[in-house]
Symmetry: C2
Subunit: 355 residues, 2 copies
């Protein structure tokens, strides 16, 4: 029996890792698509990568909706969820209803903290694997994936009962969930993702907190400062001090939540800022791109959830909280204006004479 | 000899207090105008007030430039400076060169902290009086002043050598400067500004810090959140927590700079927020109005100077610093875009055919 994997939310990142796994003989990769469904159904994914070259990845099955996938009644080994994490907009865990069998693992390749919670709540007996990637990829047109840089993906089982204040080990399942993590990482490594890495629960959560430190610093600061590049922010003395302050708040909080000291392999704020100062690409954080195109930003998983987790321990991160409050309100005001603009547009088009 | 007062920067606030003082027999009030020069020279100021009614205030002399005022060679008793405080844009203390005589006092009716420093540096032997007002007034058209609400003005001599870490009292001048404060406040009270108040140096600086606490909380938060009203911010749980946090940072810092406990008569952040929640006027802070019309904001005197004063004592105010760094950069990006827009506009108008 081959290992069957379904990519849920087959955007650039999902399709990129899917295309790697699909190169293995005993793995069958399918895709649950949204806006790119027609293109992918017809042509598969065209994947271009400076590391792996150009190739076409034809999923075993391409589905246009969760219902279509449910009707196929396939026993999935891994559901790779790579949707944008917007728990304040919709609960994507509902997409997986009736796709989860006894041997299914849910793999969450998403930004931020607390993304696992809605899945753990809906599927309390299912293995949830938490994944963090630094890979950079884009989908310039439906079904065309441009992999840009990096391939690293860090994966660990999600076992929050091991957190400080948790209920302690669950010997019956903890081992199984860890084995499924190891197995997926082995498959990725076989598929030439050499820097796929296995972590234990707290180890992976530290990787998440560390990426949140970076995202919570750069992303909202770019939006709130009107679209600054990463380099501009790191070079400006006051913004640089602010960014270091945000990262430090997050890195000071993580060990108190996870009950273990911060691993020494994680880059310090100073090192991150030093390398950002050398980044001449003119790149801006993804949250700025969302803001500019009028999309919802991942505010809750990058800012809101870390703040709430800290508060549960009586801790506050003032810089993070300031940006959370300001950005959430800025999004509300922007969305209201967009709505009004659309209403005016509609009113105008109805009242104007047909030519 | 009458008391001669020159209003420097005769906008709404300067003209309002000038119009009150001009009602006194032994006081002669003149005005150094900018954009409203022609209107004021011709008609004086038309001042409308719910408290004092409508009246016309004809200055003794109206000047269109500092040079014109210098040529008049008048011995001023008080120079009332009511310009917008933008030390990062221009040093307004230079306007007063050769207008300051041995008996002249400079009265600074401006927002923020550290506004006195450029004047103290340029005129080291001159009495500088520091003034804070809560009066609300506008100039809907040149020379027409609409006084809206409140009249309170708090005035104290600026004696920074009395601060903690200062050089101690200067018996030869401290008393004189205090007497000049008392005299100006008496004149204002005679002119029916019943809530003109005299403070000592630290007392007045506490009033400044307290107003900065409010301004530093509401002003940048409105701009960074895309134009929120004061009430919206105070009603939103996260923004309200943030605003209280900013105010508390400032109120915790002030006593460490001034070497005295915070006076108990100043309203707490909780009381300020409670009253802001009841403010249904839909008003937004003045910084938002500056932002919206593309003007420079008083970022340095409201955020930058307090932050630098705190840093001199080894203190940091993280929420304030975050907003300072973000807003300063947002202003740079906005100004660059305005410049580019103007260049495009010029290029277009030059290249387009004359019709």
């Amino acid at each position: 029996m081959p290992t069957r994997i379904l990519i849920v939310g087959a955007g650039a990142i999902g399709a990129f890792y899917g295309s790697r796994l699909a190169t293995l003989d005993d793995v069958k990769v399918s895709a649950l698509c949204r806006s790119n469904y027609k293109a992918v159904q017809k042509h598969g994914f065209r994947v271009e990568s400076p590391k792996y070259g150009a190739s076409t990845f034809k999923p075993e099955f391409v589905y246009g909706s969760p219902d279509e996938a449910r009707k196929a009644k396939i026993q999935w080994d891994y559901l790779l969820v790579a949707t944008k994490a917007l728990p304040d907009v919709n609960d994507d865990s509902a997409l997986l209803e009736d796709l989860v069998g006894p041997n299914t693992s849910i793999v969450l390749i998403q930004n931020g903290l607390g993304v696992e919670q809605p899945y753990a709540q809906r599927f309390p007996n299912t293995a949830i694997l938490s994944a963090v990637t630094v890979a950079s990829a884009a989908q310039p047109q439906p079904g065309v994936i441009q992999h840009n840089r990096w391939t690293r993906i860090s994966i660990g089982p999600y076992l929050p009962h091991l957190d400080s204040g948790g209920s302690g080990p669950r010997p019956d399942t903890d081992q199984t969930f860890t084995e499924r993590t190891t197995r997926l990482v082995s498959l990725l490594q076989e598929a030439k993702v050499a820097d796929a890495e296995t972590y234990d629960h707290a180890g992976l959560q530290f990787v998440r907190w560390h990426k949140v430190a970076l995202n919570a610093a750069m992303n909202p600061s770019s939006v709130l400062s009107g679209g600054s590049t990463n380099q501009t922010m790191a070079l400006d003395p006051e913004l640089s001090r602010h960014l270091a302050g945000v990262m430090q708040e997050v890195l000071d909080t993580a060990p108190k939540i996870l009950g273990r000291p911060l691993p020494s392999h994680l880059a310090t704020p100073e090192r991150i800022l030093a390398s950002t100062r050398k980044n001449t690409s003119g790149s801006r954080p993804s949250m700025w791109l969302d803001w500019e195109r009028g999309s919802r930003m991942e505010i809750e998983v990058i800012l809101g959830n870390p703040i709430r987790m800290a508060r549960e321990q009586g801790l506050e991160m003032p810089r993070l909280q300031a940006m959370y409050a300001l950005l959430k309100q800025a999004q509300i005001i922007r969305d209201e204006r967009q709505k009004q603009d659309r209403q005016h547009e509609n009113a105008r088009s109805k009242s104007s004479p047909k030519l």
